[in-house]
Each structure stands twice: as C-alpha cells, then as structure tokens.
C-alpha cells in the first residue's frame, strides 16, 4: 500500500486565518519538491476541533484512505488527543498522525504575515517529514485493579480500610507489629468527650477483623512495589518467618503514623530511668493498664509538673495534640486525687477545635496552675523554668510529665524511596498540595493519611482517611480499564551490556536487571516514556517509541533548514 498523506490546515476561526496566508500554505505544500512522488491531500477547514470539524476529518481520512495525517492547528496541549480520537474512529492508527502548532508558534507570535506564513510552511513540512517515519503503535488495555493496599494498622489505616472495603474492592491492611491499633490503643479515654477507648478504637479493630473484604497482614512489611494507579505489583514480607506474599492492587494508602521524639535529644532535658520523668504516652499506657498513675516507688504523686512544647523550637512546628492530651492527663490525675497539685507549663497553648476551649475550662476549674514560660530545663527530677517576666524558678515536683514533639517515623525515607513520593523538609510526607490536594502525593495512586504527613490527632486522622478513600473511590472504579502508555522505551537486547546506567536514571523504577542474561530490560507496563534512559545509554541502544532518533531528526532537520 503506498503512502497517502493528508494535511489539514485549520483556520481556528480568525485566530490562524487572519494571521497567516492559508492559501499560500496549501499551494506551497502541495508543490513540495521532496513529496512530489507521494500522494498528498492538502485542505483547509474553519475549525477542526468543532463537532463538524471532527466529523469532516473522520470522513476525509476514510474517503481518501489516508495512511498518514498531519493537522496544522493549535497546541498539542489543546487538541492532540482530540485528533487522536478522530483517527481511532476513522480506522487510522493514532500514532500515524502529527499535530503541528501554527497558532501559538506562528500566528500568535509573528506580526508580519509573510514571515508567519513562511514559518508555518516550514513547520508543517517538518511535521510531514516526521510523520513518514512514525510507526503504528498498538494500545493495550489492562483491567484497572480496584483493590487497595493500606500500609499501617493504626487508626488512620483502620479507618481507610473500613471506608474502602466492599464487595468489589478488597483492602490489604499491612501492619509491621503483631497488633492493630497503633498508638491510640494505649489511650484509656479519648477526647473531647472522654469516651472510653474500648468503645471506639477497639470497636473499629473488631470491625476490621470481622470484615470479609479486609485481609489483615500483621508482622508484615512492604518489601517491593512497582507500578502506577490501577496497576501496582506488590511484594510483602513477613518479618517473623521471612515469607513473601505477592499482590496486585490499584492504589496505596500510606498510614504509617509518627513517633514521639526522645526528649533527651533536645537541649536541656537530662534524666535517667530511675527518675520520675515520663513522656505523656508512658503515662497513658500506665493509666490504661493499671488505672493508676504512680511514681517509681509505687506511691501516688502529690505534685506533678506538665511540660508542653518539648522540642518545639528545635523541630520548628507545633505538635497540635499535646495541649489537649495534657489536659486529659490532668483530668486523670484529678480523678486519682483531687489534692494533686498540677503545675502546667506551656510556651504556647493550642486549643483549635470547637469543643477544646470548653473542655479546658472545665478541667482547669478542678485546680490546675497553668503558666506561660519561655524556657525550661529538666535535670533528673529538678525542673527550672523561665517565666515571661524573665525570672527563673526551680522546682522539684514528684513527677514530671513531658509532651515531646511528634516527629516523622524512622521509615519515612524508606517509603518515600520505595513509593517514589517526596518528603517535606520536616521529614513528614509531602502532600501534592497542602491546601487543595492534601491527601494525594506526586505519585498517582499513592495517598498519605494520618500523622505521617504532619502532627495530627485521631479526628484529623479519620477525616484524612475518609478523604483518601473518597479519592480512591472516584479514581478506581471497579471494571474500569486503564491504557498503559505505548510511547515507552525499549532496550535493544542484542546491544545491551548491562552497565545499568539506564536503571540508575529511571525515576519510575521501570527498568529491571536480568541477572541471567546480564542485561537491562524495560517493564513496559510501568514505563512512562520520559526518555531519561535513552540519553543515558552510551551505545544508543535504547529508543523511545514515537520519539525515535530518526523521527526527531527528520523534524528538526527540516525545521532548521533555512537557519
């Protein structure tokens, strides 16, 4: 079958037609010296992207049995896919077409009509040269996988799993420790209404275990993952027996939580195991397990100092939940004995939610000495604080309870690398946009919820989990098909010597190394066709389909000819 090239110049209303001489374009293109032995169809149309325009183009392709198509119109960002669809409907492989931009690149930027026309002709000629070297590419359809991998069995992960799981969607809930629940299982009561934890968190855990659409993997971690939204290949590893499980999922919700900073990492905090200096979480655990808050000697404390903002200056942010939970702990203490003297030292007080102020006043009324300070030092059971008037006071309370900063979990960097998502400068995960896209990440299909994206409490964790679930539900519809990129790279295996330059520069993890043959291979389902690998191969043994060297060369050579 001989080549038949159709070239359609769009007037784009007056946008193009008033700025370039379309008649001359048609005339000169039809008379091109190097196309004189090829069949050309050269026409114009008022508005190719309109309903009528698209119908016209489809009819033209069919009637003229075109083998190649060049549209001279607007920017590919506007209508590349529009005309690709027309090709498909007309039975022409959509990769045998080229959209040449003579609007943004000629009509709209060159005032001299003659010059604009010259340039338009040159660009269209270049596009014609390129299109002759293009090859038909077959798009494949993969079933989009609706299942979700949730990493982290704390409250954020639990809520994500419960919201997402359903008849057409499995959730794989992966937890590295032996139990679900994260840190919130250790709380006796929850704010703000002092609900008993067993009724809330524990109830949720029971629901998870009962739910037939949630598969729970404890003592398990994420070992490998490659892919993209709708198509992730996952390997989990059990950290007790080292067994591996392979899974497929369509989205990943990362709910890996936070860790409490060690107060002794900050300047001014020095104490030993023998001292009655505790972190708030230690007190919560003690209270939940024993219903008591006692000193190391076993006695009840009579004077307790609560220290807010431990490490806040160093980490550079407020940890949001500590003021509230220290009030709750004050309430625990007052419940043990109304005589306990509570000295509450804060550098700033943070009570943001609608019931927090009321709660604070209620508990404070039971007798808490809240005081604003500017600095504090803890040396064993001795506490020295600086008031806002600058005066220093040293006290030796029976018990000191510290509220340390909430800091990123140790494995944040590991997950960032594994999932190809970014870390904020604080080390928490970076959301796609802090205001308008707060649970998505820069990688499609990967979401971050809970305290791994910044200090937050249980309510926030639940809100975010539900938000991410919402995103997943709209982006991953069961039964939906995904079309992986066809303009992907391929490595010519006869020439590869396995130096792994391409593997090292691939940001999508789309190249793997075949040990047996000692060569690198592109995983076409993952490749996004960015072309980094092409540039990194010194022997030129990698090519990206639809952007091969001959194709680019032909277009550039013609476009620069008169230079």
């Amino acid at each position: 079958m001989s080549d038949k090239i159709g070239i359609y110049v769009c007037e784009c209303g007056p946008n193009i037609s008033s700025k370039v001489d379309i008649d001359r374009i048609l005339e000169e293109l039809a008379a091109l010296e190097d196309f004189k032995d090829k069949e050309l169809v050269v026409k114009r149309h008022k508005l190719l992207c309109s309903v009528a325009g698209k119908a016209y183009l489809e009819e033209e392709i069919k009637a003229n049995e075109l083998t190649h198509l060049v549209c001279a119109a607007c920017s590919p960002r506007d209508h590349d896919s529009t005309f690709k669809e027309v090709c498909k409907k007309a039975g022409l492989n959509p990769y045998m077409y080229k959209l040449v931009n003579i609007r943004e690149q000629c009509a709209w930027v060159i005032s001299d009509k003659e010059k604009a026309t010259d340039k338009a002709i040159q660009y269209i000629h270049a596009g014609m040269d390129r299109v002759l070297y293009q090859e038909p590419l077959l798009e494949k359809q993969l079933d989009s996988n609706p299942d979700v991998l949730v990493i982290g069995g704390g409250i954020a992960g639990i809520e994500s799993a419960l919201t997402l799981a359903g008849k057409n969607r499995l959730v794989f809930l992966v937890e590295k420790s032996a139990e679900l629940g994260g840190k919130s299982v250790h709380f006796q009561k929850l704010l703000p209404r002092q609900g008993i934890n067993a009724d809330t968190i524990n109830r949720k855990i029971k629901e998870v275990n009962k739910n037939p659409y949630i598969k729970v993997f404890t003592t398990t971690e994420l070992n490998k993952i490659i892919g993209f939204l709708g198509n992730f290949e996952i390997v989990l590893k059990n950290n007790k027996d080292n067994s591996e499980t392979e899974l497929l999922a369509g989205a990943v919700v990362l709910a890996t939580g936070y860790q409490n900073a060690n107060p002794q990492d900050f300047k001014g905090y020095k104490y030993s195991k023998e001292d009655d200096v505790y972190t708030a979480l230690e007190i919560e655990k003690m209270y939940k397990e024993t219903s008591q808050i006692s000193l190391k000697s076993g006695k009840a404390p009579q004077q307790v100092a609560l220290v807010h903002c431990v490490g806040r200056k160093e980490v550079g942010y407020c940890s949001k939940i500590c003021c509230n939970y220290l009030i709750k702990i004050s309430d625990y203490l007052k419940g043990i004995s109304s005589e306990i003297e509570i000295i509450d030292l804060y550098q700033d007080m943070c009570l943001p939610e609608k019931e927090d102020q009321e709660y604070y006043e209620k508990i404070a009324a039971k007798g808490i000495q809240s005081q604003r300070i500017t600095a504090v030092k803890v040396a064993g059971n001795q506490l020295t604080y600086t008031g806002i008037n600058g005066s220093e006071t040293t006290i030796e309370p029976d018990m000191i309870i510290l509220a340390p900063a909430l800091v990123p979990a140790a494995d944040n960097a590991y997950f960032a690398e594994l999932l190809n998502i970014e870390l904020h400068e604080t080390g928490f995960f970076q959301e796609a946009h802090i205001k308008i896209n707060p649970v998505s990440t820069n990688t499609d299909g990967v979401f971050v919820v809970g305290a791994n994206r910044g200090a937050c409490g249980i309510s926030d964790a639940i809100i975010q989990a539900q938000a991410a679930a919402g995103k997943v539900l709209t982006q991953l519809i069961p039964g939906q098909k995904i079309i992986p990129e066809v303009m992907v790279s391929e490595i010519l295996e006869a020439y590869c010597t396995g130096c792994k330059n391409c593997l090292d520069v691939c940001v999508f993890g789309a190249i793997y190394f075949d040990e047996e043959r000692g060569i690198s291979v592109v995983n076409e389902a993952i490749c996004r066709g960015c072309g980094n690998c092409v540039g990194s191969c010194p022997s030129g043994s990698i090519r990206t389909r639809h952007f091969t060297n001959p194709q680019i060369y032909q277009e550039v050579k013609e476009a620069l000819r008169k230079c």
Partner: protein, 363 residues
Amino acid sequence: MSKYIKLNTDRSEAIKSFLKELLENDKISSVLSLRKHKNGKVDYGLTSSVDLLDNIEPFYPYMPANAGQLMGRFTPMEKPIAAIVKPCEFRAFVEMVKREQVKRENFIVISYSCGGVYPLKINATQEIDEKLADYQQQVADQEIPAGIRSSCTGCEHINPLETDIFISVSGETDNNLKAYLRTDKAIDLIEFWHGQPEDKEFDESSLEKLLLKRKEAKEQLFAEVETKDTGLDGLIDIFGRCIGCHGCNSVCPICYCTLCDFDSFNYDYNRQILEKELEQKGALRLPPDTLFFHLGRLSHMSFSCVGCGMCSDVCPANIPVASVFKKIGEATAEMFDFVSGRSVAEEIPVMIYKEEEFPELGE
C-alpha cells in the same frame, strides 16, 4: 567492444576535466575520490562542487580506507556518483552489490592498473610526496615499488573488467590518458572527454611482465605464512599476538555486518562456562576466542577477500592477516570456480544450492 579514448593531456588533469563536465552537466551528483588538502593530508571525500574538484588526487598511492567499503553504504539515489578507485576497491564494491548493500547503478566507476599503495604508518604527508616521482617511474617500468603494502606486491587483479571506465597506467611510458570505456553507461558519456573514440579492447598481455613479478611476490607472501604443521599450533604461531581489537574486520570492506557475531551475545560467556573450560584444560586465555574470531571470519568471508591489505595495515600486533586471508580465500574460492569481485552476475558460493557438490568429500 570497448571504446578507447586517448588524450595528450596528463591523465589526472584529463580525469578532473571529465568529472567537472559530468558535474556541470548534471550527469552525476558528486565525485568520490582521494583528495589532497592544503595541509598536505590526503583522505577520501565526496566532492559536489566543481571548483573543489581541483583538489582530487585520483592516482595517489594511499588507501586510508577501502573505498569499496565507503561505496557499499550508499542507499539508492536519483543520480549516480562518479568514483575513481583502485581495482581491489572496485572488486569490494562488486561484492557489496551482490550482498544487497548497494546498487550498481549508484556509481559510475573509474579504475586503473594500480601500482600499489604505501602503508598507513607512512601517512599522507611529505614522505609519500617525496617518493612520488620514483613511484610513478617504477609503475611505468612495471617494477614493484619498494616500501608499498605487502599485499599490493602480490596483487594480480589489476584489470577489473566490469568497471565503467578503465585507465591504463601500468607500463605506460607517458602520463597521458588512455581510457577504455567498457559499459554502455560509460559510452553514453563519451562527449565529455573531448577526444576521438576508437573501437579497441585493452591488451591484457601488456600487463604480463608485471603480473609475473606480482605472482612471485604472492608466492613469497604465502610462503611466509605457511605453518610447520596443519592444526592449531601453526595457527597460534601466526595469530598468537592478536589482542582481539577487531580492527581487521572494522576496516575490511567485505565485513559489513552491523554487529559482528563475535562481538554479540553469542560469544558473551557466562562465568560458569569459562570456569568449566578452565577446570578441564587447566588454563584459559583471556579474552577468549582470539583465534576463533579469525577462523570464523575466514569461513564467513575469505572467499570474497579482495586482498587489499587494510587488515594487515591496521593490525596493532603486526599480524600478516591479509596474507593469511588471501591465501585461504583464493584456495577456497578456487574450489567453487569463484573469483571475488570479478562480476556482479557471479553469485556468492554460499548463496548457491547445488544438489551435487564435492562428491569427492563423500567418498
């Protein structure tokens, strides 16, 4: 019947003016030949400007590349290129035509009875220029000039019958042009010579004196690579110094494979395989397959060898590759009544299937 043109002008000048006319009259797109630059260096080039044709040196005794290899890479064109090349280069071109690498119509070929070329190390500098007068004299006297490539000393194929135009140089007492137009294509261009054509064939016997000397030299070259015994020991004696650079196959005009089999995966051994060899034999030469490469190349292309000697010239280890390949090439080709580069119509032996062949081997 060839047409014969004789001019009383220096043959270089005559050719230059002929080519200029061809170019001016749009009969060719360009000229492929040796050219000399202002700094004295000589290289092969494609000249498309009439003025720059003044710089060509068609008979210069130097071969930086076998022009047949350069010609063998041209894809079909509208207008032919005129190429003035040495006989072995033309023969290599013919072999490439047979292998579908280039179309015969792409070129109007001028060749001549070549006196040999100087080795690459001498370089296209003053050294060759200084020797030029003596060289030309010796060619006229049909003596073998001293110091030329060893493969040239033994070359007997200096009258390629299928070139379009053949210039007689060897044994000619003056430097005037004596051209034989052998093909219709060449005869069509007679007018551009500005001379009176005669019907005349080239007298092959005029080369006899030189060919006798060349044959002797060839026997000598073959004797130098004769091994004491048949078998690997002898071959290792010759090829033992090989460093596996594959320069020989790089410059060989017949070796046209995009990726030589010996550079490909097929010879990229897994360590287990090499260790097995090591354990069985007690020792293993690395890199492996130095000799195997030569045996392979011999079996793949030796019968098409044109004896140009580029391989020996580029060999960093001074291995007489050309003599070996020519010797074995001629012997193998003889078995098939084949002469490399003799005629486009003469098929490559390995591409012909005959039901009955070499019955003596069966016996």
